[in-house]
Symmetry: C2
Subunit: 555 residues, 2 copies
Amino acid sequence: MSDIEIARAAKKKPIQEIGEKLGIPWEHLLPFGHDKAKVSEDFIKSLSDRKDGHLVLVTAINPTPAGEGKTTTTVGLGDGLNAIGKTAAVCIREASLGPCFGMKGGAAGGGYAQVVPMEDMNLHFTGDFHAITSAHNLLAAMLDNHIYWGNEQQVDIRRIAYRRVMDMNDRALRQIVCNLGGVANGFPREAGFDITVASEVMAILCLATDLADLERRLGDIIVAYRRDKTPVFCRDIKADGAMTVLLQQAMQPNLVQTLENNPAFVHGGPFANIAHGCNSVVATTTALKLADYVVTEAGFGADLGAEKFMDIKCRKAGLNPEAVVIVATVRAMKMNGGVAKADLGAENVEAVKAGCENLGRHIDNVKKFGVPAVVAINHFVTDTDAEVKAVQEYVATQGTEAVLCKHWAEGSKGTEDLANKVVEIVESGKASYKPLYPDEMPLFEKIETIAKEIYHADEVVADSKVRAQLKEWEDQGYGNLPVCMAKTQYSFTTDPSRRGAPTGHSLPVREVRLSAGAGFVVVVCGEIMTMPGLPKVPSAESICINDDGLIDGLF
Amino acid sequence: MSDIEIARAAKKKPIQEIGEKLGIPWEHLLPFGHDKAKVSEDFIKSLSDRKDGHLVLVTAINPTPAGEGKTTTTVGLGDGLNAIGKTAAVCIREASLGPCFGMKGGAAGGGYAQVVPMEDMNLHFTGDFHAITSAHNLLAAMLDNHIYWGNEQQVDIRRIAYRRVMDMNDRALRQIVCNLGGVANGFPREAGFDITVASEVMAILCLATDLADLERRLGDIIVAYRRDKTPVFCRDIKADGAMTVLLQQAMQPNLVQTLENNPAFVHGGPFANIAHGCNSVVATTTALKLADYVVTEAGFGADLGAEKFMDIKCRKAGLNPEAVVIVATVRAMKMNGGVAKADLGAENVEAVKAGCENLGRHIDNVKKFGVPAVVAINHFVTDTDAEVKAVQEYVATQGTEAVLCKHWAEGSKGTEDLANKVVEIVESGKASYKPLYPDEMPLFEKIETIAKEIYHADEVVADSKVRAQLKEWEDQGYGNLPVCMAKTQYSFTTDPSRRGAPTGHSLPVREVRLSAGAGFVVVVCGEIMTMPGLPKVPSAESICINDDGLIDGLF
C-alpha cells in the first residue's frame, strides 16, 4: 500500500481520547473537527509545577535525493516508545501550504509511521500559518500606513527591512514595486514577498514561551531604519498588540495522532535556513509536562538542524535533550559514497562504507553538545544484509550503535529495538547538554566556532562590511544572541555537490541579518531562497477531489 | 452595558446543543472550538428531499452615519421568531478581517441581539476567508508560473484580468509592478491586490450550490485575454481542481448561536458593490431544510442589497422569499430629512416626516419583486413617541406597517410583534417572488431596468465602448447573466450626498466587468474601492490582550 492508502485506512480515534492518554481534560482541548485539537493556554499554564519528561532529538545525515525519513523515524520512534510501555509524544512541524502545490505534499511521515489526518496537515490544518500570514502582513500594512499619514517615525523608505509574506510559491512576488498609482496609494518603493515559513513572526511564534513573551518579541522586530540608521521597531508602529491578538489561537499547540493512535503535537514550522527549523517551544515544553518521552526533530541534516536545535531552541528555552537519534539510510550512504540515484538498487557495500564518513562526522559533531547519539538505519526494501552490516560495523567504530528500524513497513514493531536503546541511553544519565558556544562569545567567533567545529572548515571568509555590521549589533546590545546559519543542507560546505565529509574548505559569509524579535543573527552563506517558485508542471494541476470525494494528487 | 460587555457575559451553549435544535447529529458537526462548527457536506446532501422553510429578507433604507442596525434586526427577528414558537435560524455574512484593524470590528449584531462568539467572528473564525485567499492566490501564482514556463496559452501580459487578494486594508498593494528582479522572477508587469471579500472566488463560493458547481464556476473564471482577445479561463491554467480542494472545508456552512442560544449560520461575505453582498447559498438552502423560518440579510440598502438578493441570489439559487423586512431608524429618517449627525438627539418630527420619502421608495421598490414588505423601526433611546408615530403614519400611507422593535435593549421580547407580523405575512400566502427582469433581456436593458425601476433615474449614460463590450459578451453567450450594480450605497443616485428620494438623475456607467465564474456582469457606476486603506490612527494600535486575557479594542 502507498503512504496515502495507508493514511486513508487509518482507524483514527476521537481527538478527546488521544488527549485523555496525556491527561488533558476535554474542556481544555479546542477541537478542530473530530481529529485535531488545540491545547488550551490555561491548561498549559496549569502544568508549570510538573516535572519534565525526557527529550529526544531525531536528526539525520546530510539529505540526499535518496531520502532519509527523519519525520518517519520520529513518528516511528514515538510509536515504538509507546509500544514498550512508555508514555511518549511526538513533536513535529506543520507543513507549509504553498510548496504542496509545487512538488508534492509536505511530510507527515510515511508507511506505517505517519501522523494523521494527512490531508488536513498538508492544507489549512488549524489555521496557524494563515494567522501568521495575517499578523505579519498587518505590520507591513501598518508600516506603509504610518509612512502615508506623515511618517512620524521618519522611516527611510529605502531602508525598510520588513517584507510581506504569503503561504504560496509565487516567484512573481519576490521583487515588486508597491505604492504605485498616485498620491492616494502612498510613496512608491521597492518591496517583496517571502513565503510564510520564512517570516520572522513564524520564528517568533516558535520560540516564544507564552503570550507575553510573544508580544515582547513581536515588538522587538526591526521593520526599518531611519536616515540616521537607528532602527524602527514593530512597537514604534504599535502593531505588537494586534499581532498578538491575531496569534493568540495559533500559539496553542495542535494535537493529532499517529496511525497507532499515539499523541503527536504538530506546531509551528520555521524555515530551516533563515530560521531555526524546529517545532514550537510551547509544543515541546507542553509535551514534556505530559509525556515520559518526547521525540522531536529538526530541519535538514544534523550540521544545520541539530546545531540550531541545540544552540538556539534548547539554549533559549532551557531544554535538556538526553539522547540524539541520527537517521541514516543505506541508500543515502551509497550516494555519499558516489553512487548515482539510478544505481541505488544494486548492492554496493564498498560505496556504503565510503559514504559512512558523512554519518561519522555527524556522530562526532553531536557529541560536542554533550548528548549521546545512536544511529537509526531506516530500512528500505532493497537494502542487503551486507550493506546494513557495513553501516553497523562502521558506527561501532565511532563509539555508538546503529539500530536497524523497520517502522515504514511494520510501525512500532519495527522501532522497538531503537526505543529500547533510547531508553537505555536516557536512563544511563550520560547526557550533559551544553551549547557549542557561550552567549557572551563575540558574534563572529560564534560563526567561526560553528564553521570549524561542525562544518570542519578551515576559515570563515567575510568582508569588512559584514564584520562591521556584526560589531555594530554587538554595540547595540545584540552580541549575546546565537547565530542562525543559512547554508545549503546538502553538504558540510557551501557547495551542495560536495558530499561525504569534506575538509580544507572555507565558509564564505555573504550577508548577515538581524532577527531581533526571534532573537538570532542570520548568517547567510550562499544563495538562500525565501520565496520558492512553482515547477513547470505544478502538482496543483493534478490535485482535485475525486469521484469518491477523496483528495487526489496532494501526495 | 456595551455590546462587548453583553457579548462577554453570554451564556453560550455547546455548539452540539445548538445543532440538536435543528436536528443535526453530532457526527455531522465539525467543531471549531466548543462554540463554532461546520455542518458536514454529507449531512447537507442527505437533506435534499425535505421541504423548505420560509425565507425572510431583512434589508434597509440607504445607510446613513446614524446607523440602521440591519444585522441587529436580523438577529433580533430570528430570536423573536423562536420566542413565539417557530424554529428559526439566522443567516448572515462573515466579517472581513482586514477592516477590523482599520475602523472597528465587523458586525455581529448589537445589544441583546448579537451572534457569538464575537471575537472569533471578527478574527479568523473558521478560516473560510483564509481558504478563499489561498485559493485565489494559487490561481494567480499558477498564471504567472504558466507565463514563466513558456506561456503555452499565449496570455497577453497586458491583459491580465485577475489580481491577487489579501484580507487586509493595505493601500500599498493596490497597484504594483511584479515579476521584477531578472530572468528567474518572470516577466515584469503591472498588477495589484484587492481585499479578499472582493475576490471573485468569494462570490463563487457564496453562489455555488455544491462542490461540483463550485469547481465548474472556478474553472469559468476569466483570468486574462490573449492577443487575439479570446479569454483565458482558470481551467486553461488547470487550477480549478486544486482551488476546489482548498475550498472544500470552507464550502461547509458555519453554525454559531445568538445570545439567546438560537442557531445562526454565518457563512461567506462577498462585497456588496462588485459582488452581490449576500451570505452563501449553501448556508441559506441548508437552513431552509432545517428551520421553519430563515431570516437573512443583504448588504447595504435595499436599492443595492435587496435588488441583488432578488435578482442574483434568489434567481440563481431558486429561492423563494416570502417576506421582506425593511429596517429604518428615526435617526436615519431625520438625517434623510436634512438633520446633521450632531443634532440627532433633539426631537424633530418634521425632519422625520421629510426623511420618510427614502423609506417610501424602498417599500415601493420591494413590491416590484412580488414580496410583501414590513418596516421594522429599530428603536433608539432618544427616539420620541411622536417621531416613531410619524414614521408609522407615513408607512401606513404606503400600504404596509411599521413595527417598533426594541431588540437592542430587550432581545427577543423586543421583536415579538415583528415576528408575529412576519408570520402573518408569510401565512397569508401573498408572496409571489419574481425577479425584476428576465434572463433573456439584453444586458444594457437590464441596467436600464434597474436604473429606472429601482433608482428612479431618467437614463443610463454609457459610452460606446461600454455598450460594445456588453454586446461582445452577449455574442459570447454571457447575455443571460444578471447584472451586479456597483454604486454608492448612500444614495439612489451615484452622488453619495443626495439623500431622500431623488428623481431626474442619470446613471453613468463607467466600466463593466465580467465575473464569468460568479455568473454576473459587474456594472461600475462611479468610484469603487476594492482595496481599502487604514486610517491615520488604525484601531489596530489599540487592539491587545488585556490583563484579564480578554481582547480589547476590537469593537
